[in-house]
């Protein structure tokens, strides 16, 4: 198992290198000069040179990359062009918000997705299957932010069960935290639960036709045991493989759903950064998100190895 983890960590090296190069090259791909953005139209030539010097833009590209990388590794992602706050600080301040949404919606998506997928696979073409399949097709067609709007209209504005907007940190009040994330998480998790349900169903239908399932039943093992121990363990293998992708999708979706619920998370930060062409902030956001995704990938890889002995290096 340790060998698998080491192997996966090693495989991350080229990935992180390419992400860092892509992220860094942002500055040079930008059509406008970042220095102009900072000093504005009124800036003098002298100010221009000063800022340019301060940003280190006069040095050769590869040196700038290495310096930038060196600082990034130490957690220093520079400061915002716009208001000079520390990028790391700003991102870290918003991170728990987006993370709450992503984690809660992932939980919802996995629970609903696996349950619906298994139920559908057990009785192909039954009403359970039809209902689940129809629901999954529908769920994947609904824009998450629109679903959020509707949820707000029903459960917050009309029924007043949940707050319509805002976010309460978990540390402040777990109950209020739950109330504040539940609607956005449902809005966000629905389409992923649909995708997962489809995955689980097709994997499960495939596994149920395998010889080892017939063999387990021929051995007289109870039906439930065969389904939940023998079949599900194997059906989850391909599902786990796409799980990290689904969580990436949820993380991206959170950026938009946040806007519906006026939640001050990474999404708001990102949209502001694009409008202001705040390059360090965007770079920081990308790096932090990649960090999150890579962590999730590592976790799912390990889970994959646990479920699938063949994936373990011998």
């Amino acid at each position: 198992m340790l060998k698998l983890i080491v192997q996966r960590l090693l495989a991350l090296v080229p990935l992180l290198f390419i992400v860092s190069v892509l992220t860094f090259s942002f500055t040079s791909l930008l059509p406008s000069d970042p220095v102009d953005l900072i000093i504005g139209d009124a800036g003098t030539q002298q100010q221009y040179e000063m800022v340019r010097e301060r940003l280190g833009l006069n040095e050769p590209v590869h040196l700038r990359y290495l310096q930038w990388l060196g600082r990034a590794v130490q957690g220093d992602l520079g400061s915002s062009f716009f208001n000079s706050v520390s990028v790391m600080g700003a991102v870290m301040q918003r991170l728990p918000v987006t993370l709450s949404l992503t984690a809660m919606s992932a939980l919802i998506a996995i629970l609903i997705g696996v349950a619906a997928g298994v139920a559908a696979a057990l009785r192909p073409r039954s009403w359970v299957d039809r209902f689940a399949t129809l629901g999954a097709t529908f769920g994947q067609a609904v824009p998450n932010f629109w679903f959020g709007l509707i949820l707000v209209a029903i459960f917050a504005v009309n029924l007043r069960w949940f707050p319509a907007t805002g976010f309460t940190p978990l540390t402040e009040s777990p109950w209020e935290w739950l109330r504040s994330v539940i609607l956005p998480s449902i809005a966000l998790g629905t389409s992923s639960s649909a995708a997962i349900a489809r995955q689980v169903r097709s994997a499960m239908v495939g596994v149920l036709q395998q010889d080892y399932i017939r063999a387990a039943r021929a051995q007289g093992l109870p039906f439930r045991r065969v389904i939940f121990r023998h079949a599900l363990t194997n059906a989850l293998v391909p599902v786990v493989a796409v799980l990290s992708f689904q969580i990436t999708v949820l993380l991206g979706g959170a950026l938009i759903v946040e806007q519906v619920f006026a939640i001050n998370g990474l999404g708001t930060l990102a949209i502001a950064a694009v409008r202001q062409q705040d390059i360090p902030m965007l770079q920081g956001l990308v790096l932090v998100m990649v960090g999150l995704v890579v962590t999730v990938q590592l976790a799912t890889d390990i889970l994959y190895g646990l479920l699938n002995p063949k994936a373990r290096p011998s």
Partner: protein, 640 residues
């Protein structure tokens, strides 16, 4: 030799037909929605009742009315007109982004997939890097460089979605490259270009079309999302996303504003996705779903009147007795029989061979005994008596008790009949715990004992191995140990040596004999190989097209085959004769279930056919059974 289990699956056509109506309606509706969308996009200027940009603050935020069917927005603009003009944006957005994605992704994917090597490595690492950033963030980052706006946002989405086309094209090429027909093309001498274009590309088209529909749906959702957060289409231009943006701001005053654009998005995406699903199903590389027949079971017309009388003499210490078994499988327009009037018995310590080619029904016989025929396939007649108890009369719970304890099965391919996720020892121990109530430690100890008993050295170490870590022969020994763990009185062995090398086959056959001497179980040995049957069986029952054509003691059968099919099969065996070609053959092919001749099912391949063969032929005899009206004559002929 690889012989597939002869569970022919006419289930496929049934499913296709029964789904046709439902699928047809869905497809028509989805297609109609998309045609309407395209129509509105082209003729928006004429169809829309108002100018989508004309403001009228006097009429702001009105509900639906005769003048404004869907009401007005915050600036008094007509929602219906904006919705219709939004169709145009949707079509442009989907077309632009999808085209960019295909044109960028497919050629690169084809190239790196076919070439491989360093380019493949580099491109795939870049793709992995891009994919590890949430899609919306990638789009946001590209928009930061290009600026906001419909076309720029669509370029961003095109680049983003090109990764999925790239991976699809590469994946298909990698899979196709290993296909035998691509190897054949290389042997023929076709150039790389021709192989790619003529042999591989046609097979990429179906998944590509499906991916296009998926992408169109995803682009529409992403465009709406980007416009919603203000990075896509810019106001005052009317897109569904910007309309939702407006609606969000006025949720408290007029929630209805959010409904029309939302429904429009859902309907469009749903239609595209449904079309994609239907396409995927009709292309049909998907997993075939087991089905129950939709139409009520049609009676088997070819079986006239009552079942034929059982000629089986009762014997002492009979373990299994099967009488007049009939099994039907679903087929277009009802059901067709795959096994008819099958009767046989096996005594304690005896091995009965069930020999036949693909489609003879021999594998289904084994599964029918266990009650594991699979959905749609059912035993319609007959009795299956195991130790005097009719298994067909038992409830599912009761037969679960019988399985494992009284009857167990060994399958053809040991590497797929053991669960890949668990160690082999735990799979044997599990049976002992569940069926015999042993505790964890006892079960493990007994499992190790059994592994030792089936001739595997270092059993404790091997018990901790996973199935893929064992050779085929070793894995089959484990499967046998598991089957015998509860000391069943009947063991069904379904082609247990077919997937193994011939020297390993010999060892496994010896093991069966050895274990039978010790445990005394009856064995039903299913095989297509007469030589294997000659080695292991006491009696042999030859199956052809769902019925028994001959049954005899092993020595009698090989010395003097009475049925022309048995004789033909025997002479066709590779080591039956020493001569140069032409080798003896049986002409024609095994008929598929449903295509059986109405009289003797072998008649159209038989050299001895007479007019009387067109009637139903009964199974006759006492010690030896033969289903051939000329068996007596032919025997004389052969002797003379």
């Amino acid at each position: 030799m690889t012989s597939k289990p002869d569970t022919l699956s006419p289930a496929g056509p049934v499913r296709a037909r029964s789904r046709l109506n439902g699928a047809h309606i869905v497809t028509s509706v989805a297609a109609a929605v998309l045609v309407l969308l395209a129509f509105l996009a082209v003729f928006a200027d004429w169809v829309a009742p108002y100018d989508p940009l004309r403001q009228s603050l006097m009429e702001a935020l009105q509900g639906p009315s005769a003048a404004h069917w869907l009401g007005t927005d915050d600036l008094g603009r007509d929602v219906l007109s904006r919705l219709i003009h939004g169709c145009r944006i949707a079509v442009i957005a989907a077309a632009e982004a999808t085209t960019i994605a295909v044109l960028l992704g497919v050629p690169i994917g084809l190239f790196i997939g076919y070439r491989g090597g360093v380019w493949d490595w580099i491109v795939m690492r870049i793709v992995e890097a891009v994919v590890s950033i949430p899609g919306i963030m990638v789009a946001i980052a590209i928009i930061a460089i290009l600026g906001a706006g419909l076309h720029r946002a669509m370029i961003a989405l095109g680049i983003l979605f090109s990764t999925s086309f790239l991976r699809l094209a590469r994946g298909v090429v990698l899979a196709e490259r290993e296909e035998v027909y691509v190897r054949s093309a290389r042997v023929i001498g076709a150039s790389d270009r021709r192989i790619l274009m003529r042999h591989i590309f046609p097979n990429i088209a179906p998944p590509l079309i499906v991916q296009v529909t998926l992408t169109v749906g995803a682009v529409l959702l992403a465009e709406a999302g980007l416009s919603f957060i203000g990075l896509g289409v810019q106001p005052p231009q009317a897109s569904w996303g910007t309309m939702l943006n407006t609606a969000a701001a006025f949720m408290d005053f007029n929630w209805f504003l959010s409904v029309p654009p939302g429904i429009a998005i859902i309907l469009t995406v749903l239609s595209v996705n449904l079309l994609g699903d239907v396409l995927r199903d009709s292309i049909g590389r998907g997993i075939a779903v087991e089905t129950r027949p939709e139409t009520p079971a049609a009676r088997f017309a070819a079986a006239p009147g009552a079942a034929e009388p059982v000629v089986l003499p009762r014997r002492a210490d009979e373990v299994l007795r099967v009488e007049n078994l009939q099994v039907m499988v679903p087929a277009p327009g009802g059901e067709v029989p795959v096994i008819t009037d099958l009767s046989f018995s096996i005594a304690r310590g005896e091995t009965l061979g069930l020999v036949g080619e693909s489609g003879s029904g021999k594998t289904l016989t084994g599964l029918a005994i266990l009650g594991l025929l699979g959905a749609g396939v059912r035993a319609t007649h007959g009795a299956i008596l195991l130790n005097g108890q009719d298994l067909r009369a038992l409830s599912p719970r009761q037969i679960e008790q019988v399985r494992g304890n009284e009857v167990a099965m060994v399958f053809q391919d040991p590497t797929t009949s053991l669960n890949p996720a668990f160690t082999v020892g735990s799979q044997i121990a599990e049976v002992l715990r569940v069926k015999q109530g042993l505790n964890r430690a006892q079960a493990w100890a007994r499992a190790v004992e059994l592994i030792d008993r089936v001739g595997i050295p270092r059993p404790e170490e091997r018990a901790r191995a996973y199935p893929h870590e064992l050779s085929g022969g070793m894995a089959q020994r484990i499967a046998i140990a598991r089957a015998l763990s509860c000391n069943p009185s009947l063991l069904i062995a379904d082609e247990p040596t077919t997937a193994l090398d011939v020297t390993v086959q010999q060892e496994i056959l010896d093991l069966f004999r050895d274990l039978q001497a010790e445990f005394g179980m009856a064995i039903l040995f299913v095989t297509h190989d007469l030589a294997v049957a000659a080695d292991i069986c006491d009696r042999i029952s030859v199956m052809y097209a769902g019925e028994m054509v001959e049954m005899a003691g092993v020595d009698a059968l090989f010395a003097d085959p009475r049925h022309p099919y048995t004789a033909g099969l025997l002479h066709a065996m590779p080591h039956a004769s020493d001569r140069m070609p032409p080798l003896p053959t049986i002409r024609g092919n095994v008929p598929r279930p449903g295509d059986w001749p109405s009289g003797c099912r072998f008649s159209d391949r038989c050299d001895f056919r007479v007019a009387a063969c067109d009637a139903r032929i009964p199974l006759l005899g006492r010690e030896r059974l033969v289903r051939c009206i000329r068996a007596g004559e032919l025997e004389l002929e052969a002797a003379s």
